[in-house]
């Protein structure tokens, strides 16, 4: 073997081992935001609801990292305290989509025939309507609030999860090892839970990871439109919305919460891609 080849291969192997800087940054951002969501007190001692009319609409400074809003509340503190609500709403929305979607997909993929047709046509209908429209319709019917926003966003995810799960269940259930399980006398439900679901889940979970960013974005959108938690409770979407009226004099009010949302969504997507396997491999 020539020396050049050896060096080539060795260096190629090393680059692959090292983590991409973007991934490290994304992980850092996400850890930071998650910590803020769990314990916002670690980063700020101020009260997100305490108004201070003397210091209203102050630009970002050392005392107020993100500046203050029209009532003199510290924006940095409000963003940190809003993290918990925004992230958990997005998480619940995702969980609703994942659980209902997986269940429907599993039923459609196993039952086949009429049930399958019915469920899949229903998902077709759901997919045909823009998801924001569906969310708006649901949230208007249900009323305002964090949980209701989560349901509204979650419903839009059901169709895609059901589709993917059904396709995977169809693929796995014709696998010879599933047939083998039937032949050795394992009952149908057991085969489904022990063989079909575990082998069908990897792509579904991969898609769930990718969906988290989209879910957060959808929740923030509803918050922005005023369907989320009513003020004064801080929530990212409504923070962006409330800053709108003062945009000409206080650019930071909308921009900084908006950038926080963007950073979180990008970080989540980057990590999801890493989990999903950068080279198309699925996580095992």
């Amino acid at each position: 073997m020539s020396a050049v080849d050896t060096a080539d291969i060795a260096s190629a192997a090393r680059t692959r081992k090292r983590y991409a800087p973007g991934l490290v940054l994304s992980a850092a951002v996400l850890v930071l935001i998650l910590t803020a969501a769990i314990a916002p007190g670690l980063f700020t001692r101020q009260d997100p609801l305490a108004a201070d009319p003397i210091h209203r609409l102050e630009p970002p400074s050392r005392a107020h990292l993100f500046g203050t809003d029209e009532l003199g509340r510290d924006l940095y503190c409000r963003v940190l305290h809003g993290a918990a609500l925004s992230l958990s709403t997005a998480g619940i929305a995702l969980a609703i989509g994942l659980l209902c979607g997986t269940l429907l997909g599993l039923i459609a993929g196993t039952a086949r025939g009429r049930v399958d047709d019915l469920l899949m046509r229903a998902t077709d209908v759901l997919l045909a309507i823009p998801s924001l429209l569906v969310s708006l319709a649901v949230v208007t019917a249900l009323g305002f609030g964090a949980t209701k926003t989560a349901v509204a966003v979650g419903v839009t995810g059901i169709a895609s999860f059901a589709r993917i799960t059904r396709a995977e269940v169809l693929r796995v259930s014709v696998a010879p090892y599933v047939e083998a399980a039937h032949v050795v006398g394992v009952r149908r439900p057991t085969v489904l839970m022990r063989h079909v679901l575990p082998n069908a889940w990897a792509p579904v979970l991969g898609f769930a990871a990718v969906s988290f960013g989209a879910s957060l974005l959808a929740v923030s959108t509803l918050g922005f439109l005023g369907y989320g938690t009513p003020p004064p409770t801080p929530e990212w979407g409504s923070l962006v919305a409330s800053g709108r009226s003062y945009f000409a004099e206080a650019w930071w009010l909308s921009t900084l919460p908006g950038l926080t949302i963007v950073a979180t969504v990008l970080a989540a997507n980057r990590i999801a891609r890493a989990l999903h396997g950068e080279d198309g491999r699925l996580p095992r």
Binding site: M1, S2, D5, T6, I9, A10, A12, A13, R16, A175, P176, Y177, V178, E179, A180, A181, H182, V183, V184, G185, V186, R187, T190, H195, P198, N199
Partner: protein, 547 residues
């Protein structure tokens, strides 16, 4: 005579590596090889022996990540390693023809086959567009394609596997190359088709005086067709010599092992056939399984009613306790449908299956579950028949758990006994299927089938996905287990050579009909049916052994 002194192809010290994330992996190690003009040389090896990599390296078409490390390749006096990609392209097809392995994946599905043959002629500037079409038809005719002018206008999916392989041969021979490299040209085809294709290839190379480098896993094929055989193992040549030498007096231990395990070359059966007298006494009393007039029809596509394809046509046979009954047939003969009917995975359109005197044709629910304990199945492909997420222990215990047999300790003990019986070390219990070799996986599948102590095991091509030496081990294992446990086998196979070793009785299937059935020895020595005779003649290696 000087031309003959210098070989047409001369390979010296060739090593080929693949780049992998864990560094370079050497697939071919210092191979020396030479092929004289007009000679046929076979390269024999099992999967992973580097034979295909060698073939691709010769024409400079290594897959991504592969590169030549050392060694020289001289073709017709020119050094191929020094040629540019452009010069190599001119040589491929015109100087060296290549017949690829998989006929179904090697033709462009959206172009007519005549066009694909003509393409070679036009690329090498032999001919203009109009005459190319006519010449393509001639070439197809030469390659043994019937109705060549009709076929030339068809698309690959409209042709059978054998015809596609003939088209590939026509393409390889189109520009009259002096060397043809055939990489497993017939391993995806039925034996009788394989024989016809190889016969034809032999005739063509003889007529045109081209040399043939035949890459194959089948020692029987190599011995039949080649003047010289090169045996490869682990990327290196372990033995080379005339085919008679290698076959009759193999020197290297690996080639000796390969010769001993090639099913087509050993006539020694692993089981002794009961004599006709022995069989006639306990006629019906000892029958474990009786298949009576089985018919299976697949519905016609696109139509609700009406008769579609009749896959199984009035097939009847019986299997006694402790006996192996083999069904032999080529693809489309209905053998797998019968296996699935007996294993109750498929309902017959008509006919009955009696198991231990009871009609099980319509067994459902509890009755079917009870039956599952007594009839088990070993599938064809051990790479897909084991759940990739379960450990060996979970896989083998699963039937016991399904029937709630024994407690945790009993099950663990039973699994250990079984692993021992199928000759797998207990250390494998925690492994997952992906960490096992093909042979080990098939042993696990056999252990799973036997853990409930069934009376009948349906084996659907249990060894066709395995290398010859592993095949031999699995066959021996099946026979040993039968002696120990008294289990009966319904053995489905396309390979008469395998059946010859393992089956007490054999039935020959063709197009859904059972042509004949009887003691294996009798069928092989005095076949009553012309098709059976053809099948026997098609067993590779028979020619090499007879002279």
């Amino acid at each position: 005579m000087t031309l003959l002194d210098q070989p047409l192809l001369e390979v010296q010290g060739l090593s080929v590596c693949y780049r992998t994330p864990r560094g370079a992996r050497r697939a071919v190690r210092g191979v020396d090889l030479h092929v004289a003009a007009g000679e046929t040389v076979a390269v024999v090896g099992e999967s992973g022996s580097g034979k295909s990599t060698l073939a691709h390296a010769l024409i400079g078409l290594l897959p991504n990540g592969g590169y030549r490390e050392t060694g020289s390749i001289r073709f017709d006096g020119a050094d191929l390693t020094a040629l540019s990609e452009r010069e190599l392209r001119a040589l491929r097809g015109a100087g060296i023809g290549f017949i690829p392995q998989d006929p179904s994946a090697s033709l462009n599905p959206v172009r007519r086959v005549g066009h694909q043959v003509a393409e070679v002629l036009r690329i090498h500037g032999r001919i203009d567009r109009r005459t190319a079409a006519a010449r393509a038809v001639e070439l197809l005719d030469q390659a043994g394609v019937s109705d060549p002018s009709l076929r030339a206008g068809q698309y690959p999916h409209e042709l059978s596997g054998g015809l596609r392989q003939r088209v590939l041969i026509a393409i390889a021979l189109a520009a009259a190359p002096r060397l043809i490299i055939a990489d497993e040209p017939t391993s995806a085809l039925d034996v009788t088709v394989q024989r016809r294709i190889l016969d034809h290839l032999e005739k063509l190379t003889h007529e045109t005086g081209a040399a043939l480098l035949l890459i194959t896993h089948d020692l029987g094929v190599a011995a039949d067709r080649a003047q010289r055989v090169v045996v490869m193992s682990g990327g290196a040549v372990v033995e080379s010599g005339t085919s008679r030498q290698v076959l009759l007096e193999p020197v290297h231990s690996y080639s000796r092992h390969l010769v001993a395990s090639a099913p087509s070359l050993t006539t020694r059966p692993l089981v002794t056939c009961p004599s006709a007298a022995e069989r006639s006494d306990g006629e019906s009393g000892d029958d474990l399984l009786v298949a009576d007039n089985l018919v299976h029809e697949y519905p016609a596509p696109g139509r609700r009613s009406g008769v579609g394809l009749r896959a199984v046509d009035a097939v009847s046979f019986r299997i006694s306790r402790g006996e192996t009954f083999a069904l032999v047939g080529e693809s489309g003969s209905g053998k797998t449908s019968i296996a699935r009917i007996v294993g109750r995975l498929l309902d017959p359109t008509r006919g009955r299956v009696l198991f231990d005197g009871k009609d099980i044709t319509a067994a459902r629910g509890g009755e079917l579950r009870a039956l599952r304990r007594r009839i088990q199945f070993v599938q064809q492909n051990p790479y897909t028949s084991l759940d990739p997420r379960q450990s060996v222990e979970q896989i083998v215990t699963e039937p016991l758990r399904a029937f709630r047999l024994g407690d945790r300790q009993d099950r663990a003990a039973r699994v250990r006994t079984l692993l021992d019986q199928v000759a797998l070390p207990a250390a494998l219990l925690r492994r997952r299927p992906s960490e096992l070799s093909g042979g080990q996986r098939q042993r696990v599948a056999i252990a799973r089938a036997l853990v409930l102590s069934p009376d009948l095991v349906v084996c659907d091509e249990p060894v066709s996905a395995l290398d010859a030496s592993v095949q031999a081990q699995i066959l021996e294992l099946l026979v040993t287990l039968q002696d120990e446990l008294g289990v009966s086998y319904l053995f489905i196979s396309h390979d008469l050579a395998v059946v010859r070793q393992i089956a007490h009785r054999t039935g020959v299937l063709r197009a859904g009909r059972l042509l004949e059935a009887g003691a294996t020895q009798e069928i092989l020595t005095s076949p009553a049916n012309a098709y059976t005779k053809e099948l026997i003649d098609a067993i590779p290696g028979s020619r090499a052994l007879s002279d």
